[in-house]
Each structure stands twice: as structure tokens, then as C-alpha cells.
Symmetry: C2
Subunit: 288 residues, 2 copies
């Protein structure tokens, strides 16, 4: 397994691979890997085959964090990540630093961004207005540096996947977007590097996200023809906010492709929510 | 010579070329070709060699025109363009329509743009605030559809080249930007498809652009150590605005890479200007 830090070295290698017609899959991450990330690596391997190449990028991208967010304290453990990657059969870790990704940014020498202007306005984009612009920009850069034929993302970041899929289509990237299912702890909590922030009691409180989705699912089972959104929002919000350490940020029922808010909760609708547990903001989603 | 209209057909072919390691150069144009465009084709051929492939794209990109601009009357003559391309040795004309480039845009299904936020603010961007966002977006799309190793642009669109070079660097496109010199009519007027708009008397008036640059050059010859910007702006502006049919839009002396306005006109400074001649807006530039 190779570890590459320089952007130009990564791209040179990618161009060599291209010349020899190697199959390449990219798994973009912010590191501090967990079983969710590793499931993306396995999906990537399954797609490119044993002779293909799986690149996992590790980069905590500053442009997707707002000034008040958790950029500086975002968990990092490169030694552990490297070990996990080796075991999972990753071929190359691409781990650039900020100067490799945004050279001269502090001096105004970096000035190009990729923006998606419709799907990113609400939900995560409502709470984090500059977040997706950072995500689309860095992913476009990673695409051009690694030149993969496919890239694997996690379903937990539901809106992110929808936006990146739109970016790939709109900007005609010759890349297949693969979205792999969310991996959960045995008790239902979606795997996330940010779970590390949770105290022991917050860890218990964090179950309100998956429990809230379960409540919605059960309501829908009793009303197979669907029911008005408010009839689901009210009880789920009540359950979440009844936990002293929890505060619902948003809860929405949207079309899984256009992200348009739905008036009725019906089978096939995407339920998506964000909850502050203490100071930690967690997200989750499910297709009902 | 092949003519391709569909975006997916273009990309399929480009991916085939990639598999067989063909060298590919792209010459993006809005059609209505003149000797300036053909010089770009020759430069492209020179770079990829006789066995390489030269793709010329013809697309009058609506996202780089403001509503009041000349999108609908921009000159078009595909039959003539095709003939010129065949003679010039173009291998593929890529001539998509709006539905191929921005599918579903009217229905809100197109929403991703590439924006450059520093170099595009002044000069052309000052007069045409949404212009470069359209240019960077369509060129990023063309890069991903044609997958060239190099792209050739004309020096006449000086600020455009600077912005696209920045985009290529910032977003890490694995593409070499080549900028070929401006081709001029025998009397000095820079070749432009928009010259077609000029009446006979306006055609004569249009010489104020190249003449204004000549005046600046002569002033600089007399002051080889440089002179304050205003000492050049004033006489050149006076000459241009003294023509009844001409109105100076802007005249600037900038750093050729950062586009920062300079206080003194010195050798190496880029002079760039835009002039309305009647209703037609013409641009030109030169390195002093």
C-alpha cells in the first residue's frame, strides 16, 4: 500500500494508471475511519475487481466547515487509518494537506469553486450554508487528481450524495457515483466519526435519531396509503425534544432525487433529520 | 471528419480514445469561424502531431450571455464552419445544442456551476457580471466530455484565458492550457466573429482599439522607465471617445497573471480595453 501526500504525485500516478487502462475506484473520506468507511472500500473493491485499484483519500477539507464549526477538533488518527486501510486492501491512501489542495489560498491565489444551487439550499444547506460548496469543490478536485471510473460515497450523507450525483451529471464527469448503505452500530446508531464526541450519556441519547425513524416507519405501516407530514413530524419531534440533551435541528420528508419537500409521508419518501446531542450535531436518513 | 451533436456520444468516443492512448486537443469556439480560430486549430495540430486528434467544439453557450446581450443574433453558419474545419484538418466537430449541454435546465434540473471569484470581478466581469461563470462552467463541461490533454484558447480573450488557467490549476484538471496569439486583419483589427456586426463606417471606427494600443506603446517607448497610468489612460481615452461612433467601456493596465491594476505603465504590463462601436462591443489587449 502506497501513501501519497502531494497532489501532483497523485495525478501523475493516476495518469500512468490511465495509460495502462487500470480500473480505479475512489473512496473520499475525512479519515478517522470506521466500519462505514470500510464498507465503502469493500464496495469499491467489488466493483473494480482484484486487479483494479482502490484509492482512499483522507482529507479534512476546511472549505466545507464554517468558522464556528468543528474543523480544528475533528478527530484524526492517521496511524490507525493506515492500518485499517492496509487490512481492508486499499491500494493507495491519498492524504494531502491544505497547501497541497488549496495552494496559496491565504494569499488569494485560490479562487475557483464548484457550486450546486438548488439541491443544497435546504436541510444541511439550511443549517450549514457554505458546507456543500466546499464538498462539491473538493470532490471535483479529487476526481481530477485520482481520475477514477467510479467513486463510492456513504448513504448516511444523503443530501451530499444527491448533490454530488447532480454535479457529476451537470458537469459531465466521466465517473460513476456509487452510494453504499449506511452501516449502523448494533443498537441502530449510524456510524460516524463524530460519534467520538459523545459522552456516555449522550451516546444513549443519540439513539433518538434511529428511534425517530423507527417511529415514522411504524406510523406508515399503520397508514399504508400515507399520511400528512405533520402527523409524523409532530410525534417524532416530540420524542426527540423530550430528551434533555437532544434538540431537533431539522426533520424533513423529501423526494429522494429532487429533494423537494413532500406534503404526505408515503412509501418511497426519504426521511432525513439532524439532531444536536449536546454540542454534537448528528444526521441520519432512511427511505421509507 | 466526424460531426457529433450528442454529449454522451462525444464522451463515449473520448473514453475510447483514452483507452487507445490517443493524444487529443480541444479547441472550444462559438463557431462562425475566422482565421483566428483556424490558427488555434493549427496550434492544436502542431501539439498533438499528425496522429493526434483535434476536436473543435462549436457552441454558443447561453449561460455566458446576459439577457440583454446578443445571444439570439450571435452569427452562426454551420455549413461554412464545417467546410473550414475540414480544410484545416479538424478530426471531430462537437456541436451540441442546449438540451445536450444543459438538459432540463428550464425545469430546474440543471444546477451546478463553476465559479472563479477573484480574477473575474473587474474588466469584462465588471461590465458582464455573469459572463465568466458561464464560461468556466461550459469549459469544465467540455473538458469532461472531450477529455483532451490540452486545450487551445485565443489571446484576444485575455481575461478569459487567465480565469480558465486559474480554473485548471484550482480544480486540478489534467489539461494543459495553451493560449495562441491574436490574429489581426491587415489594418490591425483583432479578428472576432462580432466584427460582422459592424457597418462599413463602424469597421473604420473599430481601428481605435488597435490604434489606442499603438499610442500607449509609443508613449512607453518615450518613457522606458514607465509612467503613471493616468498619463496613458487620458490620451488613449480621448482618442477613442473623440470618434462619434465609439465609446470606451474600460481601459486598464494590469498584471498579466493576477490581473491586479497597476499604478504605473511599465514594460510587461497587460493593456486591455473594451469599446462600444455603435452597438457592438469589441475587446482587445496587448502585453506592453
Amino acid at each position: 500500500m502506497k501513501v501519497i501526500h502531494a497532489a501532483d504525485a497523485m495525478q501523475r500516478l493516476a495518469l500512468q494508471w490511465r495509460k495502462s487502462n487500470q480500473r480505479v475506484a475512489l473512496v473520499p473520506t475525512m479519515g478517522y475511519l470506521h466500519a462505514g468507511h470500510l464498507s465503502l472500500v469493500h464496495e469499491a473493491r467489488r466493483r473494480v475487481g482484484p486487479a483494479g485499484l482502490v484509492v482512499l483519500s483522507i482529507y479534512v477539507n476546511p472549505t466545507q466547515f464554517a468558522p464556528h464549526e468543528d474543523l480544528s477538533r475533528y478527530p484524526r488518527d492517521f496511524a490507525r487509518d493506515r492500518q485499517l486501510c492496509r487490512k481492508a486492501g486499499v491500494d493507495v491512501i491519498f492524504a494531502p494537506d491544505n497547501e497541497a489542495m488549496y495552494p496559496g489560498k491565504e494569499q488569494g491565489q485560490y479562487s475557483t469553486f464548484v457550486v450546486e444551487e438548488v439541491l443544497g439550499r435546504e436541510l444541511e444547506g439550511g443549517t450549514r450554508p457554505t458546507h456543500f460548496r466546499g464538498v462539491t469543490t473538493v470532490v471535483a478536485k479529487l476526481f481530477n487528481l485520482v481520475l477514477p471510473e467510479l467513486a463510492v460515497f456513504g448513504a448516511k450523507d444523503f443530501q451530499q450524495s444527491a448533490i454530488l450525483r447532480r454535479m457529476v451529471k451537470d458537469l459531465n464527469f466521466p465517473i460513476e457515483m456509487v452510494v453504499a448503505p449506511t452501516v449502523r452500530e448494533p443498537d441502530g446508531l449510524a456510524m460516524s466519526s463524530r460519534n467520538k464526541y459523545l459522552s456516555r450519556s449522550e451516546r444513549r441519547t443519540a439513539l433518538v435519531l434511529s428511534y425517530g425513524m423507527e417511529v415514522a416507519r411504524r406510523l406508515l405501516l399503520r397508514h399504508p396509503g400515507g399520511l400528512p407530514v405533520q402527523k409524523v413530524v409532530d410525534p417524532v419531534a416530540r420524542i426527540i425534544n423530550s430528551q434533555p440533551a437532544a434538540r431537533l435541528d431539522y426533520l424533513a420528508f423529501v423526494d429522494p432525487l429532487t429533494l423537494q419537500p413532500q406534503k404526505r409521508v408515503r412509501p418511497g419518501v426519504q426521511m432525513t433529520l439532524a439532531v444536536f446531542v449536546g454540542k454534537t450535531r448528528l444526521i441520519d436518513n432512511t427511505r421509507l
